[in-house]
């Protein structure tokens, strides 16, 4: 089987797995403005907002989405990634500000959105791994795969914000 076909099947299975597993036991009640979640991963809860206009430090008031992680025990936020879509020439760029650590964690251009979003999700999953207790490992992998798909779906139709050339090959920042 071709590599791409395998990938597509994996993503489809991941999405099916997330929604089949999560609806009764992992998902909390649906809130306004959410594109995904809230979905419980062990003692944590993950959600993704729909695009909205709001302050993103370093960018001003811009259209962005939030990938949000909080504790289920007390609702305390442990990470909140503000994700802004940018364009530099023909390249796809992302600016990501994490407001609990108050850091710009990504300011970088990519050959395609998927690579960029995977980096965002990698950062988010690292935050989760640090704070995680008693999670179903298979469900967790499936949830992250679904989040990549959801964020790509949200970012593709968004109007990108132009960036100044030569300013966007930043490094990932660990939070």
């Amino acid at each position: 089987m071709k590599k791409n076909a395998k990938k597509v099947i994996c993503i489809v299975l991941a999405v099916i797995l997330v929604f089949s597993l999560s609806t009764p036991s992992y998902a909390a009640s649906k809130s306004a403005g959410l594109a995904f979640g809230p979905v419980k991963i062990g003692n944590l809860e993950v959600k993704v907002t729909n695009p909205h206009v709001g302050q993103v430090p370093g960018m001003g008031r811009v259209n962005h989405i939030n990938l949000h992680i909080s504790k289920t025990s007390n609702g305390k936020d442990i990470a909140n990634f503000h994700i802004v879509k940018q364009k530099s020439g023909k390249r796809d760029c992302l600016y990501v500000y994490e407001s609990v650590s108050k850091k710009v964690v990504i300011d970088k251009c990519y050959d395609d959105w998927k690579t960029g979003i995977k980096e965002v999700v990698k950062l988010a999953s690292a935050v989760v791994d640090k704070a995680l207790e008693n999670a179903n490992a298979i469900a967790t992998v499936a949830i992250w795969a679904a989040i990549v798909v959801v964020i790509i779906d949200l970012l593709v139709p968004m109007d990108p914000i132009p960036v100044i050339p030569f300013s966007t090959d930043g490094e990932l920042v660990e939070i």
Binding site: S31, G33, H52, V53, G54, P57, K76, V100
Partner: protein, 145 residues
């Protein structure tokens, strides 16, 4: 100076928010309320608050309602009780976003507040709002942006 307050956990009162809104919102300031399109009750309420009753395009998912701050609107907003509180759906105020003039922006239902502090009085008010959060033992992130 641009200041931000990001409240990380549940609060039991909107006293800090009211203190900031009361100080930074002035009669005659522009008021923009942004709601998610599915928030029918909040949109109705926003149309009542926004003096111009103008409903603008917003974005694909949001409605933007613009008006002007009046003393009556300000009082009504201040008198509103704290919104529903739940771990998944933390709300201090009922509107997702409220932009007042260029000095006050309340986002994510009041859990994120962005302020333009231009005087020592502004700084004092922010300090008092943080003291309220401290007294309630609420964790927050505060700084410049």
């Amino acid at each position: 100076m641009n200041r931000s307050i990001y409240v990380l956990e549940d609060v039991t009162s909107k006293e800090y928010w009211n203190l900031l809104f009361n100080h930074f919102a002035h009669e005659g300031d522009t008021l923009e309320i942004r709601c998610w399109k599915e928030e029918r009750e909040e949109i109705k309420k926003a149309l009542y608050y926004a003096e111009s009753k103008e409903q603008t395009q917003g974005t694909l998912y949001e409605v933007s309602i613009k008006g002007i701050v009046t003393e009556e609107i300000k009082t009504k907003i201040l008198e509103e009780p704290i919104s529903e509180v739940s771990f998944s759906d933390r709300k201090v105020v009922s509107f997702f976003t409220m932009n007042v003039g260029t000095s006050f922006s309340s986002e994510h239902y009041g859990t994120e507040v962005y302020l333009n502090a231009s005087s020592s009085k502004d700084e004092d008010i922010i300090k008092r709002a943080l003291e309220i959060l401290d007294s309630q033992d609420v964790e927050y992130v505060y700084g410049e942006f």
